[in-house]
């Protein structure tokens, strides 16, 4: 059974599913929604979640417009945690806004995730 998507449209998105990206290694003050440990790490776009008002602006009373495109990004656990002892195939996924992403060279070799993921 297919449930209707709750995702919002994301016109003008910069990245596509399967693109390799690097999370910006930046440490600005303020209300930042990108976990510290993932900054500077490389991952693959798993899906485009939609466009949403920017929480980094909403936090200070602004309206969060223009909306920012949100992606779900997939990372290898062994890459994120150098001392990771679990299986090498383990991944962690998290949702990151476009302005935190930079393109990485090359396309993902890994199989594209299925829609039902």
């Amino acid at each position: 059974m297919t449930l209707p998507s709750t995702y919002t449209p994301a016109p003008g998105h910069r990245f596509n599913v399967g693109d390799r990206v690097v999370i910006k290694r930046a440490f600005p003050p303020g209300h930042r929604r990108t976990p510290y440990y993932i900054r500077g790490k490389g991952g693959v776009i798993e899906r485009i979640c939609g466009a949403f008002p920017n929480p980094e602006e909403l936090a200070y009373g602004f309206d969060g417009e223009p909306a920012k495109v949100l992606y779900r990004v997939r990372f290898q656990q062994t890459h994120v945690w150098p001392d990771y002892t679990g299986p090498a195939r383990d991944v962690i996924e998290m949702e990151i806004f476009e302005h935190w992403l930079a393109p990485a060279s090359g396309r993902a070799k890994a199989k594209r995730p299925t829609q039902s993921g």
Partner: protein
């Protein structure tokens, strides 16, 4: 670059040692229910946003884990209501004194913050 994390909020715990987790359900005290209802109502009325509340809580810094959950969220609400000019610090202080008197609370009663609460 410094080994000290720059601008890392107290909420940003990924990768930190976890330690034991207290899973006891402590229920909600009367004031916690009232504070939570006020916070929910102000959210529904679009007077405060969850993003603003989180920001105000994260800005508590070292206080973040010294406060219990509802103390932290209530401190955040206090910050926002003063910031938005809906109440003043003086009004709040006066009202707190009035309520203390009404319930015969000693003026020197300890602040609600619990030093050992949380992690």
């Amino acid at each position: 670059m410094s080994t000290q994390p720059i601008n890392k909020g107290p909420h940003d715990l990924g990768g930190a040692a976890a330690g034991p987790i207290d899973t006891t359900d402590h229920g909600m005290k009367f004031w916690e229910k009232q504070a939570n209802a006020l916070r929910s109502t102000l959210g529904l009325k679009k007077i405060v946003r969850v993003d603003e509340l989180r920001r105000a809580a994260e800005d508590l810094g070292d206080q973040y884990y010294k406060l219990a959950y509802f103390e932290r969220t209530t401190m955040a609400l206090r910050t926002l209501l003063i910031e938005k000019g809906l109440i003043t610090e003086a009004e709040l202080t006066a009202r707190m004194a009035e309520v203390r008197a009404r319930f015969d609370v000693p003026a020197a009663a300890a602040a609600p913050a619990r030093k050992s609460a949380g992690r």
